[in-house]
């Protein structure tokens, strides 16, 4: 097979699955203003951590050692500093994302086999950010969970599904959510999200 060479082609690890449907600019009913901002956050690392029963506190301490982030107590608790993010999505299980690559290797040094497991999902998930005054409203069309701020505080995470597309959602701002979906479903989910945002006007950045 002859490999095609193209000087402007980006390295494969930076190719987005959203690419053919990712159209920067304003769309939909935006004459009265844009109420939704959609973008892809492209973290360098997405890692899932799981603690063996009884080892949860050690895993939470390891998360603090590696990321500097202190997890709040309780189910679905999480925190983000804008560069690194972590949230609980199941009992003793956490998703961690970082703008930089190499998070799985850093955790592998700290999370010993006695504490739990480290799974590198950097190439397996796509992170989509939805922000704006109508973000809660658009997401409420997709997921049957409570998006109000008291029920879903900033930093917290939720795992749920949109039809059969499994999604992990972290609230990273009062009107901002980061959605982690399987990479192979990402383009279809993105198209649905764009379609759902049309009626309030959205901008892709």
């Amino acid at each position: 097979m002859v490999e095609r060479q193209s000087p402007e082609r980006k390295p494969p690890e930076h190719l987005s699955p959203l690419e053919p449907e990712f159209h920067v600019g304003s769309h939909g009913n935006f004459e009265h203003g844009v109420e939704i901002i959609l973008t892809e956050t492209t973290p360098g690392s997405i890692v899932q951590l799981a603690a063996w029963p009884g080892e949860e506190k050690k895993l939470i301490a390891a998360i603090r050692t590696v990321t500097g982030l202190a997890l709040p107590d309780g189910a679905g608790g999480g925190v983000s500093d804008g560069v690194k993010s972590v949230f609980g999505f199941a009992p003793g299980k956490f998703t961690v994302a970082d703008e930089a690559e190499g998070l799985a290797a850093a955790f592998a040094k700290v999370v010993t086999p006695a504490i739990g497991t480290v799974t590198d999902l950097s190439h397996g998930r796509t992170a989509i950010r939805i922000a704006g005054p109508k973000a809660e409203w658009v997401l409420a069309k997709f997921f049957a969970i409570d998006f109000s701020l008291p029920a879903f505080p900033v930093g917290a995470g939720r795992s749920t599904t949109h039809h059969d597309v499994f999604a992990q959602i972290q609230r990273t701002g009062a009107d901002q959510f980061d959605i982690y979906v399987f990479r192979s479903f990402a383009r279809s989910f993105w198209k649905a999200l764009c379609h759902a945002s049309e009626e309030v006007g959205y901008e892709v950045q």
Binding site: E56, G76, A144, A151
Partner: protein, 98 residues
């Protein structure tokens, strides 16, 4: 029908997968007691009322849950982790529940 997952809170039944009757007692895998195996595979209480069931929150936290469901009304009177308590980090605070 809503099931209140102890980790995720109230969720639609579509997020859950039924894993069978929660009353079954699996015999020792090495056992050759055919009556015990027959009971495990076939015997069901089939109550008209409260029923012990195993559900997995497959579209959420993926935890396996012990659920008591009323087969007449679909009322769910109890939900707990099959694996027992996962510690405070795994529990929703009481005020989080809807």
């Amino acid at each position: 029908m809503l099931i209140t997952c102890p980790y995720c809170g109230p969720r639609d039944v579509i997020e859950f997968t039924y894993q069978g009757d929660g009353n079954r007692q699996r015999p020792d895998p090495a056992s050759q007691n055919f009556e015990a195996w027959n009971a495990y595979v076939y015997d069901r209480l089939n109550p008209a009322g409260e029923h012990n069931e195993i559900w997995q929150h497959s579209g959420g936290c993926r935890a396996h849950l012990r659920v008591v469901r009323n087969t007449l009304t679909h009322e769910i009177s109890s939900v707990a982790f099959v694996r027992g308590d996962h510690g405070s980090a795994a529990r929703r605070k009481a005020e989080d529940k809807a």
